[in-house]
């Protein structure tokens, strides 16, 4: 398998304090990679560093193109869609406007209109709420909207920051089912950050374990799933 995104020696800082230490990651084309770890392990920071939203060093290469020094906007325009922590909803815009925002950077209007239909097929609930202010949606619906917004960018790689955060188990299952379908049907590669390790291991085919800003283990998710000591030591179940 070839890598869609290669990360080498990635370090990141918040002010004076260092949050990431020389991270190396390989995100496989078409696959789902999970970043697991406890609170404060640097999962969210890794995603933010890839998108140049924090001060960082190291190289990130997307399909052979060095994107280490590109702006966040440019990285997004190159096909990396980041579903941020906290969902990033535009609360005073309607659901439709949240999605139509993608038209701003899409040159292919017709394809974008088709993607809109596709998004509503994945998330029929959003279609029911199309003219509603996004701030009035429930948490689960806002998470769906965040994924839908990312999908509207026609990305090749999706970065998902804790899509299960604060949601009821049933909703979480629904969202993860849809994520799997998106991965399979749209051929979108994914890098997912999760607290809920069991859930992420189901979806992912490759796993990185993070502890205090360093990769402590990586391997196929089946290996982690079946290794009880590893699970107990790092994932707490």
């Amino acid at each position: 398998m070839t890598a869609i995104l290669q990360v080498k020696g990635l370090s990141a800082w918040y002010g004076q304090s260092r949050a990431l230490f020389d991270l190396d990651l390989n995100i496989e084309q078409g696959g789902v990679t999970a970043l697991l770890g406890a609170n404060g392990a640097g999962k969210t920071t890794s995603l933010r560093a890839i998108c140049n939203m924090v001060r960082r060093t190291g190289t990130t290469t997307m399909d052979g193109t060095d994107i280490s020094r590109r702006t966040t906007e440019d990285i997004v325009r190159l096909g990396v869609a980041h579903v941020p922590e906290g969902r990033g909803t535009f609360v005073a815009l309607t659901v439709e406007e949240n999605l139509r925002l993608a038209f701003h950077i899409r040159r292919d209007r017709k394809a974008a209109e088709r993607d809109m239909e596709k998004v509503f097929a994945y998330f029929p609930r959003l279609k029911e709420r199309i003219h509603q202010q996004a701030g009035t949606l429930s948490g689960g619906e806002q998470q769906m909207l965040a994924v839908a917004r990312a999908l509207m960018l026609a990305p090749r790689l999706m970065l998902l920051d804790e899509p299960s955060f604060g949601l009821a188990p049933l909703i979480v299952q629904e969202i993860f089912r849809i994520l799997r379908r998106i991965n399979e049907d749209e051929k979108v590669s994914m890098l997912i950050v999760e607290q809920n390790a069991a859930l992420a291991l189901e979806l992912a085919d490759h796993v990185y374990l993070l502890e205090t800003g360093k990769v402590v283990m990586s391997g196929p998710s089946d290996m982690v799933k079946n290794d009880e000591t590893l699970r107990k030591a790092y994932l707490g179940y």
Binding site: F90, V91, F103, G139
Partner: protein, 290 residues
Amino acid sequence: MEFFIQQIVAGLTNGAIYACVALGLVMIYVSTDHINFAQGEMAMFATFLAWAMIDAGVPYWVAFGLTIMVAFFGGLFIQRVILKPLENAPVLALVVCFIALLSIFNAIAGMIWSFTIKQFPSPFPSRDLFGNGLVSAQQLGVVAVTLVMLGLLTVFFRYTTLGLAMRAAAQNASSARLMGVRVSWMLALGWGLASGIGAIAGMLVAPIVFLDPNMMAGILVYGFAGALVGGIANPLGAVAGGFIVGVLENLVGSYIIGNELKLSFALVMVIGVLLLKPAGLFGRVIVRRV
């Protein structure tokens, strides 16, 4: 009764101009949380440019259009060159920067065109419109120009993806970036629009108050009052606020306190609104589920 209606019409005319100034202030406030104190002087400077063009023989409406364009790019330029490097500066530094801009524009205008007042032509005749002494063509013209501008802006913000991107950037900058929106350029565009709107206000008010480098000082206070009365974070509210201030100012001025205290009345309104309804009459506190 006739006098009363005349005062209302005059109030609406002034209100249209205050609405433009208020809208310019709000445009910058919603995306950056700053009040551009130089808004008035920028408008004044643009009006002088228009005056110079008309003086050189350029037809009025050509000069009008050109001035708006120059003001737009001037605003864009100011944001890119002066304010972008200050993106992470403390608020106080920005306030000082705005005040510096204010006095720089004022001084340069005085240097080039002198501080003596000049007559600025109006494209609308001052004759009475319906033969009953109530509405003049000039007044109707001012209100019409304002309404056309408001209509165009509404279409822009509501129906174009660029307008949508600007709204998104103003609401949630980091999330907008993640949608590929170049937020910093959206701010620049906001400055350009605010500056263009200001230029319109300047050119509309100049025939009434005469053109000189200090002509916008009072107008900016009224515009500020309008923005606050309507809700500083709400463009439509700011426009409504501008009209409300214009009408009230005129009525209170002619019936109660006299013309000399009109400007103070605007300030009283500012204080009153801030005390009683800090978000403005039409300002909403955004409700959201968590």
